[in-house]
Every structure is written in structure tokens, then in C-alpha cells.
Symmetry: C2
Subunit: 270 residues, 2 copies
């Protein structure tokens, strides 16, 4: 834009930015997406994708744009989770950053560094390099938030590939919550949950191939970046009234489902 223009105000103002903690899952390990900074400060160091808010965009739009520009990731599930405003958190001056969480399947993206980023790479979530700014703190809070979220909403599903096995999902939930669950109970719970639709089977594998599932599209409604608030969310309606999808509730060995199950919520609070 205009490089010589300046902007003058009666009171000092901080700068507003967004930083995004992008979680990616590959069926085995939870990763975090980092960029190598191409400009000062902290040039050459790893950092979270993010950047300054423009005057004609909301902070959500800012997060989405920066993510796209710096890493080529687009269309991800995004959710604001905290604000960091320590006075000296940025050597350039007063910068207040709004932290976002993004959840994607690693398989969905080919990373392409751009803009202020000279590289963009996935790191296993607990093997991170030294980070610029207070990004370590931001990531820690992001992990905490993800743990909280998983107990309330089926957000983890965003981390899975289009088609996935229940074992993959279990590994994911276990790394996030830090607990272990009985393989067999976990399986039954999910198969009967009405959240998933079977869709083919694994190829190779050295053992019996697992059934692959996809998430019933009605389960999430991202229009508001939130779950289960649409009228069409079958998993959320107490009584679907009409005929049920494949997994007929009543046909299941005569056992009834828990309320939590029927509602498709509170899934991963084991």
C-alpha cells in the first residue's frame, strides 16, 4: 500500500495480531504446525503462524488469512481460545495477540511456506524446537484448551482424515487426554454412537483390516464454527421422531444408549 502515509492518534495504541496453533493428526501422532520466521525479530527461529490484523477484517478473518498466506492451509476448523497481552511479549512494541486453535488432518494439506515464513513444517506436539516470542506459552494454553474442549464437543473429529479407523481415533483421544481406554469398550461406544458411518476397510496392515469410518455430515455445523447447533444435527436431537439412520438405536441388541451417546456429545470424557 502507501508506504509513506502515517496514522496519528490522540492516545497510544497497541497492535492487534492473531496467532494460530494448528494441530494436525496423521493417525499416529499429534503434530503442531510451525513456520520459520523469514524476518526480524527472531528471524530464523520457529514460531506460530499469525500476524497483524488489518483494518478491514475481523480477528477471525485475520487468523484465516495469515494461516493461508504463511502455510497455505485453508478451510480448517478455527476457534479462538485466549488473548495474550503481556506488556513485553513482543520486542517491536505493544502487541496484543488473539490465539486461535485450528484442527486439521495432516493428510489434507501440502504445506507451502509463504509471505513472512521461509519454511512451514509439522512437529510432533511434544518435540518442539525453541520458539519465538511467548509462543511456547500459547501452545501450552492451546493444548489445555483442546483437552477441555474434547470433553464437551466432538471436535477431535476434525483432526481425522476423511476416512479413519477407530484405532486411529482412540490413539488420538489418548494422546490428547493423557489417559488410556479399553480398546474393546472404546470401539463399541463409537460404533454405536451414531456419529460415524462405515465406509470401506483398510488395505494392507499385516493383520485383520479395520473398518474405516467417516463422520456423519450432520454431526457438525461449522457455519458458526461450532458444533451441534443446527436443526439438522441428528445426533443432537433428543428424539429424532422419524426413522433412524443405519445404526438403528432400538435394534442394538436391545440395549439402550446413554443420553450422552444419543446426543453425540461428551464423547471423549471417559
Amino acid at each position: 500500500m502507501n508506504t509513506s502515509a502515517t496514522y496519528t492518534y490522540k492516545h497510544p495504541r497497541a497492535t492487534i495480531a492473531s496467532d494460530i496453533v494448528v494441530f494436525g493428526y496423521d493417525g499416529y501422532q499429534l503434530h503442531i504446525l510451525l513456520i520459520e520466521r523469514g524476518v526480524e525479530p527472531y528471524k530464523g527461529m520457529w514460531a506460530l503462524p499469525g500476524g497483524f490484523m488489518l483494518m478491514d477484517e475481523t480477528i477471525e478473518e485475520c487468523a484465516r488469512r495469515e494461516l493461508r498466506e504463511e502455510t497455505s492451509v485453508s478451510g480448517a476448523y478455527l476457534r479462538q481460545f485466549d488473548v495474550f497481552s503481556d506488556i513485553h511479549r513482543d520486542p517491536r512494541g505493544r502487541v496484543v495477540t488473539v490465539a486461535f486453535l485450528a484442527l486439521v488432518s495432516k493428510a489434507d494439506y501440502h504445506l507451502l511456506a509463504g509471505d513472512d515464513a521461509s519454511r512451514a513444517e509439522w512437529f510432533v506436539h511434544d518435540e518442539l524446537p525453541p520458539l519465538a516470542f511467548d509462543h511456547n506459552k500459547i501452545i501450552n494454553e492451546g493444548l489445555k484448551h483442546l483437552r477441555d474442549l474434547i470433553a464437551t464437543r466432538p471436535v477431535v473429529l476434525h483432526l481425522l482424515d476423511k476416512r479413519f479407523s477407530i484405532a486411529e481415533l482412540q490413539r488420538l483421544v489418548e494422546t490428547i487426554t493423557g489417559e488410556e481406554y479399553d480398546r474393546r469398550n472404546f470401539q463399541r461406544r463409537l460404533i454405536h454412537s451414531n456419529l460415524l458411518r462405515p465406509e470401506g476397510t483398510e488395505s494392507d496392515s499385516g493383520s485383520r483390516p479395520a473398518t474405516l469410518y467417516s463422520v456423519r455430515p450432520e454431526v457438525y455445523d461449522d457455519s458458526d464454527d461450532d458444533f451441534c447447533e443446527s436443526q439438522n444435527c441428528m445426533s443432537c436431537k433428543p428424539e429424532p421422531k422419524g426413522s433412524l439412520p443405519d445404526n438403528d438405536i432400538e435394534s442394538m441388541q436391545g440395549k439402550r444408549l446413554s443420553r450422552a451417546m444419543r446426543e453425540g456429545l461428551n464423547f471423549f470424557k471417559f
Copy 2:
């Protein structure tokens, strides 16, 4: 300060503010604290307490300061819950606001309007006057957040007076969640929860006086504006090892407590 000084930057900047949704409970109804604006814009209209962030304070400090200056409320439980950044949300220009939740017992405060506020008053949470800016939206999100929070953390306890009856607590939980619970089950659950300590009884009442309780101080640790993360939180330790407080778990009619109960979490998800 210096009234003629100006501040010049190379890029345009938004202003950062905080707004606080203060919830107050009086044993019967949930209230929200509003101020009458004493300055333009929206002069004379009701609004949330809040204001611009200064350069030498964090956004949390800003929220606390504005709350004190405009309403004289101090020492409340405060928690950031959302950021509002719509481009035209403030007629004065681009203002991004960080929304906070505050939880207090109405009895603890004598309101005293000050600063930009000409009046400060409590309103029943579902009988609010027309509000300035997008404050209606902020309050709605605040209520949603409170509902989410209550299922995860025992935050409601902050809304109660030092000493309270279980009936008061039940009314509170019911207005927040919008559900009704069996009085007797609710009672037992809480009495056996290990969260409360009996402390005298109600006076007058027209019927059998209720036992009053106070919250065991170990239950919350506000140092980080968060619960149950201190080493001293007895309710959170899986096995307190030593001797238990009054409410000995094993002595309770031989019935064991649920994990949720023992941990003192997930209390109000009925």
C-alpha cells in the same frame, strides 16, 4: 496526562478495550451489572462496564481497573471468554474488545457509579434494558460460556455468599442450565461432595431452617484465575492418602462416591 500529545504510526491501528459481564446472585435470581453511560456515544444508555486498555497494563488488568472505576466492584473472579472485532461495532472507529466474565455474590458489593458511568445497577439477567453497542450479543455469549463452564468447573461457587443453603445453590444451577433437578438427589450429591463445609443454620424461614455451608477453601485456587490446579486442592487429588476431612468418604453408608464427586469436578452436569 498530556492533552496535546499525539501518537503516530506507519500502519493504522485499532483500539483495544475490555468489557465485563458481571454476574451477581442474591440467592434467588441471577443478575447482570450494567452502567448508564455518562458520555457519548450512547450517552444515557445502559451498557456493560469496560473501557480502553492502557499501554502499561495487560488486558486482564484493564478489565479489573475498569470494573473498579466504574462500579467499585473489586476482587471478583474474572475470566476472559471471547473477542469481538466486528468492523463497525463501535461508531467511534475500530475497537476490538476482549470480553470477560465476572462472578460475584450480590451481597458482597455496594455499587458506586464512577468515572464514565453515571449509574451502576443490577438487572435480572433476563430482563435487561436496551443496550449500547453490541453488548447484547456479548451478554448472550457470556451466558453461553457460563453454561459451558458450569459443566466443567465448580465456578458457580463464586456466585454464592460466604454462607449459603443448598436450595440457593440449586436455584442458581437451575437458572444457569435451564434444567430442573430433584431436590433430594441434588442435596445428597452436594452434601457428600466434599466441596462444602457446614457452617451454622439459617435464621427465620417459616419452616425448618436449612443448614448453611461454606466452600472449602482448598477447592479453588484463583492464583491463575483457574480451579483445582493447586497442590492443595483436596477435592482434586485422586487419593488424599492421609485422613479425610469431616465428610469421611468411607463412612457414608458404605456407598462409594463417583469419580466426578471425588474429584470435585463435573459437578453441575446433571
